[in-house]
Subunit: 258 residues, 2 copies
Amino acid sequence: MTGVKPLIEPQERDGVIANPCAACGIRDLVVCGALDSHDIGRLNAIVRQVHVGHGETLFFETDPAANLYVITDGCMKVYKLLADGRRQITGFLFRSDFLGLAFQDRYAYSAEAVAGTTLCRFPKQKLEALLAEFPAMEERLLKLASNELAAAQDQMLLLGRKTAGEKLASFLLTLLHRAALKGQPHPEISVPMSRADIADYLGLTIETVSRSFTKLRKSGFISIDDPKRVVIDDPDALAELAGIDEDFSDDLPTASLR
Amino acid sequence: MTGVKPLIEPQERDGVIANPCAACGIRDLVVCGALDSHDIGRLNAIVRQVHVGHGETLFFETDPAANLYVITDGCMKVYKLLADGRRQITGFLFRSDFLGLAFQDRYAYSAEAVAGTTLCRFPKQKLEALLAEFPAMEERLLKLASNELAAAQDQMLLLGRKTAGEKLASFLLTLLHRAALKGQPHPEISVPMSRADIADYLGLTIETVSRSFTKLRKSGFISIDDPKRVVIDDPDALAELAGIDEDFSDDLPTASLR
DNA sequence: CGTGAAGTTGAGTATGCTCAACGGTGGTGG
DNA sequence: CCACCACCGTTGAGCATACTCAACTTCACG
């Protein structure tokens, strides 16, 4: 549906930076944090910064898995398709999330930008060489992957066993949780994805998502002016509805939204 | 629902073996394969073999994640529960599968034996020390985890977007695929889990699973005498129904059933 | 100011769920 | 040895949740 993407090249954006990785604001959050200030240059040598515009595709499910990415800003969705076009979004990814992990030779899913997104691109082969050299990075990656796995299991519980209302409540709480982790002001959350995307993420139709939003609103749990901004008025009621499975208490490095 | 399990101790079962890991038949398939015959003794020093009987629980979702397990024989199910008892089985695990990967301090799911199951138990702390010492093991684990992740995404597609018939067809094909990988005679597959387990795995009710079996049978795709043994008469038709998403062509080290 | 995309709402429908009954099988105990 | 019972799986009838189809509003963008 969406075409090829323009790749904006690395340093050229805001002038040449000597060692961008060293200055990276999210470095502690991801694989990069496993390297100290001395070794970080090695990573720096293989990264390129890329940009995908709203609605553009970073890679398709069938593409050779040539790169691993870390999001520095924006929002991506990853999804799988059935032959007749039915779509399941398996995750929304934000700043500091990684994507493209595939130790098969092809990606297991397609990746498309929900909003303009900037990513660090690591060539798979070169990164694997670095992983072999710096086991601390590999360990970090394993932990991240294991968090992803836990999040995937939460999502299976949601898809297989929750009602429409419970699904939407869980989704909003996860968004709230993630926003909180990143230090955003509480009550209002940004919902950058369309109702269609939410539907394909929750295993529902657009209409059911819309109706569920309305129901939550009429129950006084949330308020909506702009569909892309939702105010969480009653997080406790929402948690009750969601089934309280959202690990809403502890401050894990949740790989939540996938 | 199920109580505590009896742990049958290691070598005592068939006499003392000097170095069981070295002689292990599935060693190549799992993390253990990353160590050569010299280093395998290190693993051997921390393993214990445990056994869980049919219907017994190995660990619960809330337990501290003290161990990682590899199945040497049998079948386990792992599941998550909602407060009101609704259950989602997130995977069935067989010989050579691992479970208990959780780099949080608690398991993300409960694990119960579908049939009598024997496992190798690795204490998490000791294993992590070994992982640090032998990066090849960590690499192996990362690849396995990344395969799990791909399988989890397949399952999300199934749960969110497939119909009852498609779900069951996909499930049977995955069982067939796994049996084929382990060199079992083709047409008839073993289905050790109950209809209730299948329902909780596919996000359906028992009745719908049963009706879907009947429909597949009446369509001539499968034959059933014993509910625990299913003959796949028309794998192609089944694949067509399933959506042909099952990576049924290539011989990946599929971490399929979860 | 026209057009199209996105979201909401309504009416009717269908897929899968609930409730219920029944048959087969395996384990237990009289 | 066989009667009994519990469990599992199957089938039927009715129902509800979420889907389909459709109309309408709003808003962004020419």
